[in-house]
């Protein structure tokens, strides 16, 4: 019914630019091409860690908290509520996750407790922004402060008395079981250790994603397509998104905007809480005051650069996790090899711009960029430590800002909505 009025007045013409659609074959081909580039860089530089199973596995572990926080942001902002309080909800998730798994001696109880803890933060945010119409940014910042203070208070109350606990950290947490595809672990490891071109790289990547994967990681990955399905393929999701685009119109059609916003913000908090719980239960194995270290904000940024879409934010999170794993594991050596990958990527883009798009100036600029990066790669042996630690931030910012230059946020995102208003 919404389609009827759209194209009537316009002359029928070919669509202005073909819309690029990321399908599964394209995605797989892209990943394969990337592995080829990485493999070339690995053989040239000898930085064997850039496609090792350990790196891929660490990348997954670092990407999950960011991705979950980003998903949380997605739910909230799709319903029109800006959620800068993700960090605070994540902090609540770390604490409740640790507490739950200690209290009930089960990591899965911790996962549920973490989600509830995060949803608690979501409830405060929903109460302030949806029910009382408080400015979203102010409410979010308040939650970040309250989340930190509240968990510190709770730690003093609960962890301080436990053996091995303290006011700043919990005792060690029970371990989350890990899953492996049986039978291929050792062959892959052997193949990887040969350091053959391409074969060893695929073996490394496969080993990273099939061996010793935490069940929580699998749950987190499943939540991405699940969120997509719920938001874009169900009537419920359509109503949530309508609240973020034109709440007045949604209200006029009988959607209870307050209720839908409440639900979305609660889910948002629960997802951010899950991200926090992952951090304390799986990634660290311990709760530690301040361990989120700004991951909630990074998740929010990944969501924005991912154009408020689940696929985009997951891509951003994986990219960040991968580069973070590289720089944490082998620092300068791996990042130095990454420079070669960047140079080759830029060169490929330049050729594409020249041949397929006929954008000569753009191709020239990109080519110069490729040469500069290659020159830096060629004249140095390693990247200084001062630079490597912000590699993930820089790479993610560059790639995502270049990849998505036409960001479109939900139209009514961040605007307090009062029942009965016409917009």
């Amino acid at each position: 019914m919404t389609v009827t009025g759209v194209s009537v007045g316009r002359p029928l013409e070919a669509p202005p630019a073909r819309r690029f659609r990321l399908t599964l074959p394209i995605l797989l081909a892209g990943v394969a091409a990337l592995v080829v580039l990485l493999s070339i860089a690995r053989v040239v530089t000898g930085a064997n860690d850039i496609t090792s199973g350990g790196t891929v596995s660490a990348a997954l572990g670092l990407a999950v908290p960011i991705g979950l926080a980003g998903l949380g942001g997605l739910w909230s902002e799709r319903s029109g509520v800006v959620n800068i309080g993700l960090e605070g909800m994540m902090i609540l998730g770390t604490w409740f996750g640790a507490w739950g798994s200690l209290q009930f001696h089960s990591p899965w109880a911790g996962v549920i407790a973490g989600a509830i803890g995060g949803a608690l933060g979501g409830a405060i945010h929903a109460l302030a922004t949806v029910t009382f119409g408080v400015d979203h940014i102010i409410a979010g910042v308040a939650i970040n402060i309250v989340g930190l203070g509240f968990t510190q208070y709770l730690s003093k109350l609960f962890f301080d008395g436990m053996p091995g606990g303290g006011a700043k950290q919990s005792p060690g947490l029970p371990h989350m079981p890990t899953l492996s595809v049986p039978g291929i672990g050792e062959p892959l490891r052997t193949l990887e250790a040969r350091h053959w071109f391409l074969l060893s790289d695929f073996a490394g990547v496969l080993r990273g994603i099939t061996q010793d994967v935490s069940s929580f990681t699998i749950l987190a990955i499943l939540l991405v397509p699940l969120s997509f399905y719920a938001l874009w393929r169900t009537a419920f999701g359509l109503r949530v998104r309508a609240c973020g685009e034109r709440p007045g119109a949604a209200e006029s059609l009988g959607v209870n905007v307050y209720l839908y916003k409440w639900i979305a913000v609660l889910i948002s908090g629960a997802l951010a809480g899950l991200g926090g719980a992952f951090l304390s239960i799986v990634a660290a194995g311990i709760y530690r005051d301040g361990q989120t270290g700004g991951r909630g904000y990074i998740g929010l940024a990944a969501m924005i650069f991912g154009n408020w879409r689940p696929g985009g934010l997951a891509g951003g999170a994986v990219l960040f996790g991968y580069t973070d794993a590289l720089q944490l594991r082998q620092g300068g050596t791996s990042v130095h090899a990454l420079l070669l990958v960047v140079a080759m990527l830029l060169a490929a883009v330049a050729v594409y711009q020249l041949v397929r798009q006929r954008r000569n100036t753009a191709a020239l600029i990109t080519a110069i960029g490729a040469i500069v990066v290659f020159a830096v790669f060629a004249v140095t042996d390693t990247v200084p430590e001062q630079f490597t630690s912000f590699t993930p931030h820089l790479t993610t910012l560059l790639v995502l800002s270049l990849a998505s230059q036409r960001l479109r946020m939900p139209a009514a995102d961040g605007i307090p909505y009062r029942r009965g208003q016409t917009i």
Partner: protein
Amino acid sequence: MAAAACGGSDSPTTASTGGASSAPAAASVKVGLAYDIGGRGDGSFNDAAAAGLDKAVSELKVDKKELEATQGETDAQKEERLRLLASGGFNPVIAVGFAYSAAVTKVAAEFPDIKFAIVDDGAKGANITNLLFAEEQGSFLVGVAAALKSQKGNVGFVGGVDVPLIHKFEAGFVAGAKAAKPDIKIQKKYLTQPPDFSGFGDPAKGKTAAQGMFDAGADVVYQAAGGSGAGVFEAAKAAGGMAIGVDSDQAALPAYADDKDVIITSMLKKVDVAVFDFLKNFAAGTVKAGPAIYDLKAGGVDYSTTGGKIDDIKSKIDEYKQKIISGEITVPSS
């Protein structure tokens, strides 16, 4: 009695405490202590300072007031915290951690009658005592232990934040490992760069970095990373490797009870001794401004043997210890 000589303008306090060593008189000493990020209960550096303060409370009968820092705060907030203690009648005021450097310099100048102490920093002032440690000497010894224990000739160092203080740990560790095994391979990693101090409290990062080192062939990893160290222990456990603790005897701490099998030794930095000494001197009226260095000779740094995992090489480590104390070996600090 001797207190009057150097007590200066704060003579009322020192004169009374300097008299008889009677407890009631000393009760008028009110200590203000400001923690670094992490605060009491961090199972590491701040807890050591707290232990020194607690000892002073029970043995010297001083009164105490403790304030904690928060993540990502500004210098102005640190100044305000010290000013609050100084103007609240607390004397002496102890600032724990190099992060207070600028704040102490400024606030100490505002309160010339009050004695300040700062741990781990060389801030200058007529009423500032610097409680400094020769971390490089203790790290040298655990470097020796790491090299001797390593089967693969490959060891790692994980630093929390890339700051000069942690460079001392690294320098000593590298020198020690090379002294014991000249051809040893040493991997190094700092988790974050200043002004991002999250590297002292992010176990997930510590775990990833240490895993990378174990995957690249290391079998012993030394961590000077505060709260991130828990992640290093986790990684050592998962990889079947060994780890070395820092600041406190971490194998003996209940906080790391699950990890004690992988912690072969710890570099001890006795902040508690320094804090207690300072308070004792204050009570006796013999506090001196300027650096007080706690090195191997003074018993300010050392290594631990809890768990008996380095008993077989203890005699060799002690040889190096004697050489450092006698001055035969000079350990580089950067």
